[in-house]
Symmetry: C2
Subunit: 472 residues, 2 copies
């Protein structure tokens, strides 16, 4: 048996936690060889790997309630962890003092009501499972993102996850029809009593938990709207000569293609260059422009939808909004292009150093903003960007080949201030977590932050849930 050094406070509670786990010994881990993958984030950036940690892994609602209630009664801090795919440290403990409550053994059942178009998911279901079930039954699950194989629905809801279908199917808030949540007191809050789209009976508690990042309670069950699966799917890439052309193209898209647009994504020359050089992946279109806009359409009339995109494609050339482009002819070409889009993140991770910013800004602000960040960093690095253009959410990344330079200190004060002044968001879809908690007073203002703290006290009066995160 390994020697364990529990913090003075935690040590005295280990026997009681072990006894709660007696009937299901896998529901508690204490050996550091087993706990380290829970106590450190997947990027190896947040959390710790100290021994003496306790990881709780309930496999039932009852067990989760008991663990939470014990922690609350004894004021033990709890970090809830779903798929451990956070980019901002929201699911990682800051010390061995903090219990990790992992949902990796939690139930993961899914059922689909086809007449009502509603999927009911246990929090432990992976996003992939949800996407696959919907697909098999002729529907589309409204959330899809890179980490789908690992992330779980409880965490997706708790972090208000966005992804590539936000443009088409809307936000998490417009798709979640019901939630079941366990509060620190062990009380189960059932917000699944009506899973129909229209219900006006009281304050919307449900939305408080969407994006609450484990600071209020633990989401244990979700009811989610699913959408009828379109029968057409087309994809093209536009090579744009400058950002003004990108703006005009985006505006025209909204005017012309309207509701068959399913995704509008941008990639710049810099990120494509990284994909080619660092990942050695071939880009299947001509690289001759600073910006590339990927447009996907989906509809229910294959021939007409195709015609609409073709006509938009030609018109964009005639109007000099694009200098080159590709309109896919086959499903495998589509997959190849989506493969490039999905390589953007890994390409940046393969640079010597990188800093990631997940921003929302009005279209008119983007160009000047990117230029000013590039000016700030000078020759020490370069801005590369890609993201959800249609949603105004671009992932601005700074990469550097220099191993020792710290660009964060150079970039961040100015970057966050500019975004806030332009009424943008410093976290469009990745959340606040630990990474951005210190910016919250500037972001939301003291008046709003104080109300958020009041709300936290309503649900978590002892302040045990994810301390130091989000509204610390």
């Amino acid at each position: 048996m390994l020697a364990r050094r529990f913090s003075s406070n935690l040590a005295s509670h280990v026997p009681a936690l072990q006894s709660l786990a007696a009937s299901d010994p896998s529901s508690i881990l204490m050996s550091s060889s087993e706990t380290s993958r829970y106590t450190r984030c997947w990027m190896d950036k947040y959390g710790h790997t100290d021994s003496g940690s306790v990881v709780l892994r309930p496999s039932s609602l009852m067990s989760l309630k008991q663990f939470l209630q014990y922690s609350n009664d004894h004021k033990l801090p709890v970090v809830t962890q779903s798929g451990n795919t956070s980019l901002v440290g929201s699911a990682s403990p800051q010390s061995t003092e903090e219990l990790v409550l992992s949902l990796d053994r939690f139930p993961s059942d899914l059922t689909l009501d086809e007449e009502e178009g509603v999927m009911i998911l246990d929090a432990g279901a992976t996003l992939s499972d949800a996407i696959d079930l919907a697909q098999t039954r002729g529907f589309v699950f409204p959330v899809d993102l890179g980490a789908k194989g690992s992330c779980k629905i409880g965490g997706n809801v708790a972090t208000n996850a966005g992804g590539i279908y936000f443009n088409r199917f809307g936000s998490m808030k417009s798709n979640v029809l019901g939630l079941e949540v366990v509060l620190p007191s062990g009380e189960v809050i059932d917000m699944m009593r009506c899973m129909l789209p229209k219900d006006s009976t009281g304050f919307d508690l449900k939305s408080l938990f969407i994006g609450s990042e484990g600071c209020l309670g633990v989401i244990t069950k979700v009811a989610m709207k699913v959408h009828r699966k379109p029968t057409s799917s087309d994809l093209c890439v536009f090579n744009c000569p400058d950002f003004d052309a990108v703006r005009t193209l985006t505006h025209r898209l909204q005017q012309t293609l309207g509701n068959i647009t399913s995704a509008v994504e941008i990639m710049d020359a810099g990120v494509l260059n990284l994909i080619e050089t660092k990942l050695e992946k071939k880009i299947p279109w001509n690289l001759n422009s600073p910006y590339y806009v990927l447009v996907e359409t989906m509809g229910f009339h294959p021939q007409q939808d195709r015609q609409a995109l073709e006509s938009f494609f030609s018109q964009s050339f005639e109007d000099n909004l694009v200098v080159d482009g590709v309109l896919t002819q086959t499903q495998s070409q589509q997959s190849e292009i989506w493969g490039v889009r999905e390589s953007c993140g890994p390409a940046v991770n393969s640079a010597e150093q990188s800093w990631k910013y997940d921003l929302s800004l009005e279209l008119k602000h983007w160009d000047g903003f990117v230029k000013s960040v590039q000016e700030t960093i000078g020759d020490d690095g370069r801005v590369v960007l890609w993201g959800h253009l249609g949603d105004r959410n671009i992932h601005l990344n700074v990469v550097s080949d220099l191993p020792d330079v710290n660009l964060a200190d150079k970039i961040e004060p100015g970057l966050y201030d500019s975004v806030i002044r332009a009424k943008g968001s410093i976290s469009a879809e990745h959340g606040v977590g630990l990474a951005k908690a210190k910016h919250m007073p500037n972001v939301v203002g003291e008046a709003v932050l104080n109300r958020m703290r009041d709300i936290k006290r309503v649900f978590d009066p002892n302040g045990i849930m994810n301390p130091g995160k989000m509204i610390a």
Copy 2:
């Protein structure tokens, strides 16, 4: 000057309120000839007409803040009133003790950002003004409902209004991008710092105010998503032989027409009969079925969209889902049919007596449910229904020609219990107000209701905002 009898508590505050109104004398009304239209609801069902009432009508944010702050400091109850079109008494005072805070003189400016597709509205703007501005600029405002000429956007948001375009453009929550709210303390909560669709920075306070029915604070400004105006619009009515056919038709619609469907409404033979007999309005289609389903499509490809609806129309006949129907050929035919749909409410109001229920239920429950209500009332009245079939929100109305019978007591206990058991909503889009406050413990459960009360204490610690309403 009329004699006024202020309640002992209110009387002592009248001079101070008058002095706050000194620079804008129209911002306070005290003569009962002037106050009665504010203290009684439009249906003449909720509120009172007693003399000795005080109505505050601020014409600026500053004035509204001062009135609220004074009321809060002195614990004077305040009922906020927007367009006074509530169906559940949420905007009517229960006694002269309660100040009415009317927004009828409040600013009503509207601006539209076409690139971002966002309209910014002062709370005093009428819904009609918003609809018209959007229309003029090539957009659609996502909310449209019968009271649009009178109701105001502040009230629409505060009551989580639904309406005919919910099916197409989604809920109020998925369209509100920002809010400004004044709390009872006079503090302004600015939730318009980021009006972009994606923002994950902290708890979603905004959604708490959507549907809060004046119980938390006063909404003073709204940022709303607007949608590109479709270029095609088609409409048809299907005569369905029974409710099973209605169910199958609805399911097929979702599968086949997908995202060009803009409204799916139902009317039964009973309500059409009332329109013909009470309103003496001609129904422009054959009346030979128990149920009529109105389907409107909107898209961006007039010819193809028309073809899609035509083909769905013929297929429904072939599949014996409909026995008759009409596919409109002209804009004026469309308006005529929508005119019938909009007459449903007035037709019921013209019956000797009527009781209205605004329910959400899964499709599979509707038929049995309607039959059981009809059984309960027997020969004393009859069920008529219409509503937003696509959203599962049907307005079930009971009408009676008997002047003295009270069917409410006969219907309601069973009706509400059945809806709650079937996981439906007893108020899909009309809110709780005074009318349904007593049902809230059964509807949401004590655990949730207690949290709602906690939330109220966060924003309204003195409990002055709309006492006795919603979560009383």
